[in-house]
């Protein structure tokens, strides 16, 4: 492309415009969770932890919007991956789960959010403590993929709660990241059932668990907590009681509007 003298420079694509994205890949993560890769035209780029709004419009004009965290790392560019859990009785997630196929087009707006965001370039050596429940792992996965992609070796731990072993989203990828020996460790807790020989935690996240998993990272760790409201409250309160400064604890709650 050439610019004529005096013409305006190309403007940066706006993050708040609705764009028509194409579904390029759908992958099963667990029996109730799928990942969708969207090719988004003019994607402005995103930071790990941000989300998009997704809008569905019926032929009569009725439309619904939902927010979904971005699972892909910024380095993947305009191939934006969302991971969606099917919520029974929901308006949007059953449609995504059962109706959408590769080649379909979806309206998205984003990236959105500047609060629940981690950029490896600003704090490349700082310890990172991530706490997730269920599909709350999605924005945390974007952070871990971002960290791995940049070859960081800062101490990092993910404490992840799920009901059953088969409900752990990204389990094989998380275990591979943990086996890479770059300072990342994965700690799982299963709250409803455990497989035979399970040696990990088997209860809901509580003060003692947070203290034990955080301990090797120390009280200067940067913390991100994402999950259902109850889990977020417990974990954030525990971190505050352990003496972590409030400005190092970032939280994101998800709930029934995310269905």
């Amino acid at each position: 492309m050439t610019l004529a003298a005096g013409s305006a420079p190309p403007t940066r694509p706006s993050p708040i415009a609705w764009r028509i994205a194409s579904v390029t890949e759908i992958r099963d993560e667990t029996p109730t969770v799928k990942s969708f890769t969207l090719a988004v035209p003019d994607w402005p780029g995103h930071r790990a932890g941000q989300h998009v709004d997704l809008r569905l419009t019926a032929q009569d004009g009725y439309s619904v919007e939902r927010s979904y965290s971005i699972a892909s790392e910024p380095e993947r560019g305009s191939d934006v991956e969302l991971t969606v859990e099917r919520i029974e009785g929901g308006e949007v997630s059953p449609f995504l789960d059962q109706v959408v196929i590769v080649g379909d087009r979806l309206e998205v707006r984003g990236p959105i959010g500047g609060y629940f965001v981690w950029e490896s370039s600003t704090t490349p050596t700082e310890a990172l403590f991530l706490v997730g429940g269920g599909s709350g792992v999605v924005p945390l996965m974007a952070m871990l993929r971002h960290r791995a992609r940049n070859g960081l070796r800062n101490p990092a731990r993910l404490l992840l709660s799920a009901r059953h072993a088969e409900d752990v989203i990204y389990r094989s990828e998380l275990e591979a990241l943990a086996a890479a020996g770059d300072g990342f460790e994965l700690v799982l807790t299963l709250t409803r059932s455990t497989p035979q020989g399970w040696t990990g935690y088997s209860r809901r996240i509580d003060d003692r668990m947070v203290a034990e998993v955080l301990e090797p990272l120390g009280s200067r760790a940067r913390c991100f907590v994402c999950g259902p409201t109850a889990l977020v409250e417990v974990a954030a309160d525990a971190l505050a009681r352990l003496g972590l400064p409030a400005d190092r604890i970032r939280t994101e709650r998800f709930g029934p509007t995310g269905t």
């Binding site: 993050p15 708040i16 989300h51 998009v52 709004d53 919007e65 927010s67 707006r109 984003g110 959105i112 959010g113 500047g114 609060y115 629940f116 965001v117 259902p228 409201t229 109850a230 970032r250 939280t251 994101e252 709650r253 998800f254 709930g255 029934p256 509007t257 995310g258």
Partner: protein, 95 residues
């Protein structure tokens, strides 16, 4: 004693991140990381930290410390109405 209805309401509480897209489209910039002071208890929180009650005709954002209303947002077909009378101030960086 907490009732089942109370529990359901508590489960439905989100945070200011949930209305990030709506606010960004209204103000033209991300609002979740801007700080504001609660007019009731003087706590400074970022918008993303406020408690969001979204299962209503509008959205109500409450202070995480004193639970008073900081911001109300109502969408109509032609406009977005933001009542920030519960905020003493909001601070936006120059871009």
């Amino acid at each position: 004693m907490a009732t089942r209805v109370d529990d359901e309401i508590e489960d439905a509480v989100l945070d200011g991140n949930a209305v990030g897209g709506l606010l960004a489209s209204s103000f033209g910039a991300d609002m979740t990381a801007i700080p504001g002071r609660c007019a009731h208890c003087n706590t400074v929180s970022m918008i993303g930290q406020l408690r969001a009650y979204t299962r209503a005709p509008g959205t109500v954002l409450r202070c995480p410390v004193c639970a008073e209303v900081v911001v109300r947002i109502v969408e109509t077909p032609t406009s977005v109405l933001v009542d920030a009378s519960g905020a003493a101030w909001l601070r936006m960086d120059r871009r």
